[in-house]
């Protein structure tokens, strides 16, 4: 456990080195909410979304969580390219401890970054009850760990930064555009009429859909969004799969390098 904590501390120190990057990221996220979402509120049909600004606010927390949890992959990819992983592998800890520490650190950093965005949600929507807050935090933590796992799996499987960035882009567009982060799930059905039915199914099982809809179920007071334990289960399954995959990939592939 102590070794894992050391790895987490190392990654947190690295995270704060990117403070300007984080400031820029927060500015972009807030511009999405306080400019784009405010304008789309005027445009969106009220029969589909009553208030787009309120609808999008929980989605924004997920957007922020994704961006920051994914940053761990960027660092690991850089370490692989600059061969810093040799140093990491020489540390007095097992490969598994190192890998678990990195996956957890990625998730926890995502939680840290997302906190101001979640607080913004509480301000513009309303405060959840304590059990609701704990459920939201648990779901987002699981989601962050899963995203960190996806990011690390891609980072150790790509040999160049360009390939990593390209893979990240593809994953980002697939996960976000086929989810209810930006628009309600009911609207995505339109893709089925254009011959893109599998994308609708993907949107329904997408952990980002379940994560953002879970927050909405507690903060929007709308009959359309009702909490279901299946939402939490969906995110937990995603998290377990990708955390395990990343741990295995990090521990094994790094040794091969």
């Amino acid at each position: 456990m102590k070794a894992i904590l050391h790895v987490i501390e190392y990654d947190f120190r690295n995270f704060f080195r990117y403070r300007w990057f984080i400031v820029g990221l927060i500015a972009m996220n807030l511009a999405d909410l306080f400019i784009s979402a405010v304008v789309f509120t005027q445009m969106a049909s009220t029969s589909i979304v009553v208030n787009y600004f309120r609808f999008f606010a929980p989605g924004l927390a997920v957007v922020g969580l994704f961006a920051s949890a994914f940053m761990i992959g960027r660092e690991i990819n850089m370490e692989v390219r600059r061969e810093i992983h040799h140093y990491m592998l020489s540390l007095p800890m097992t490969r598994t401890e190192l890998a678990i520490g990195r996956v957890l650190a990625g998730g926890l950093r995502g939680m840290l970054y997302m906190t101001p965005l979640l607080i913004t949600n509480f301000i513009v929507l309303h405060l959840p009850t304590l059990p609701q807050l704990l459920l939201i935090l648990l779901t987002l933590l699981l989601l962050a760990i899963g995203i960190s796992g996806v990011s690390i799996s891609i980072a150790v499987s790509t040999t160049s930064f360009e390939k990593f960035v390209t893979a990240r882009g593809v994953v980002y567009y697939m996960l976000f555009f086929c989810s209810s982060v930006f628009y309600p799930l009911s609207v995505i059905q339109v893709l089925a009429t254009k011959g893109l039915g599998p994308l609708v199914t993907f949107a329904q099982i997408n952990p980002l859909t379940n994560g953002s809809d879970l927050i909405r179920s507690f903060l929007l007071d709308s009959p359309e969004y009702v909490f279901s334990p299946l939402m939490l289960l969906n995110v937990a399954v995603f998290s377990c799969i990708f955390a395990l995959l990343a741990t295995f990939a990090y521990a094994k592939i790094l040794q091969r390098h």
């Binding site: 990117y18 300007w20 990057f21 400031v23 820029g24 990221l25 500015a27 972009m28 511009a31 999405d32 400019i35 784009s36 405010v38 304008v39 789309f40 509120t41 005027q42 445009m43 969106a44 049909s45 029969s47 589909i48 979304v49 160049s160 360009e162 390939k163 960035v165 390209t166 882009g169 593809v170 567009y173 697939m174 555009f177 086929c178 930006f182 628009y183 309600p184 609207v187 995505i188 339109v190 893709l191 254009k194 893109l196 994308l199």
Partner: protein, 262 residues
């Protein structure tokens, strides 16, 4: 000023651009997913209200995404300048039998031209989707897009040479991108910005992205009438192009001397 030497600088920048093949592929994927996923779904969400103001939102959005792509690829030149400073290529460039002015002007032209060439195939697809109502209007719109691309390239060079850190440049570009794109008519018409917050609409009226996006929509017939005359839009884009190309050239030329990039 030798045109041949200028051409060589432009050619070099174009060759460098092609090296970003993964980035270019990613931009292409972004474009396709913006149109085929985001555009289609958001259109479903806003079509009622857009129809009320006489807009087919899907077409409106496709035209806007084309301009965002043009903008973001024209900004690439700034990253090249940082790469060169980091890897000591500046020194090599200064030893070339090309005057400082030719080098700087060539880079500004190259930055704009390559983004336009990249957007070319996407533009063909977009024109296929949107159609062309008046070829003359389209030509005027394409000319204004040229001016815009060169202006953005000059702006990117100006920002890149004004900053010492690649990380800070990256952040500034991110923040600028977030504001300049969102406070323009690339994604939504001014009428909704006005309804949301009049200040947004006021800022959008001074944004070059607004002018070029509206000109492109006018050129393709997506928007029947412009809020301002085409002459005003072209003039505004010319001022943007001239100001940044000039400022970019002067800044870059000054920075080249004395190793201040190090």
């Amino acid at each position: 000023m030798g045109l041949k030497k200028l051409g060589l600088v432009v050619e070099r920048d174009f060759r460098m651009f092609i090296q970003y093949k993964f980035m270019l592929v990613m931009r292409g994927i972004w474009f396709v997913s913006q149109v085929a996923l985001f555009g289609l779904v958001v259109n479903r969400m806003v079509q009622e209200s857009a129809a009320a103001v006489g807009i087919n939102y899907f077409n409106y959005y496709v035209a806007g995404v084309t301009i965002i792509t043009l903008y973001s690829t024209a900004m690439f030149i700034g990253y090249d300048i940082f790469e060169e400073a980091e890897h000591g290529v500046f020194e090599y460039l200064l030893t070339l039998p090309v005057s400082r002015r030719e080098l700087v002007l060539g880079r500004s032209i190259g930055g704009g031209l390559r983004s336009f060439i990249y957007v070319g195939p996407l533009l063909v697809v977009v024109l296929f989707i949107l159609g062309v109502s008046n070829p003359l209007y389209l030509l005027i719109a394409l000319a204004s897009m040229f001016l815009f691309a060169f202006g953005v390239s000059g702006m990117s060079i100006t920002l890149a040479v004004a900053m010492k850190s690649g990380d800070k440049y990256d952040i500034l570009i991110g923040v600028l991108d977030a504001l300049i794109v969102r406070l323009s008519t690339t994604m939504y018409p001014t009428v909704y910005m006005q309804r949301a917050t009049p200040a947004f609409a006021t800022i959008a009226n001074f944004n070059p992205l607004t002018y070029v996006a509206d000109m492109f929509r006018w050129g393709t017939g997506v928007e029947g009438a412009l809020k301002f005359s085409p002459f005003t839009a072209v003039l505004a884009l010319f001022i943007f192009f001239f100001a940044f190309t000039f400022v970019g050239v002067v800044f870059y030329e000054r920075r080249l001397e004395g190793g201040s990039w190090q």
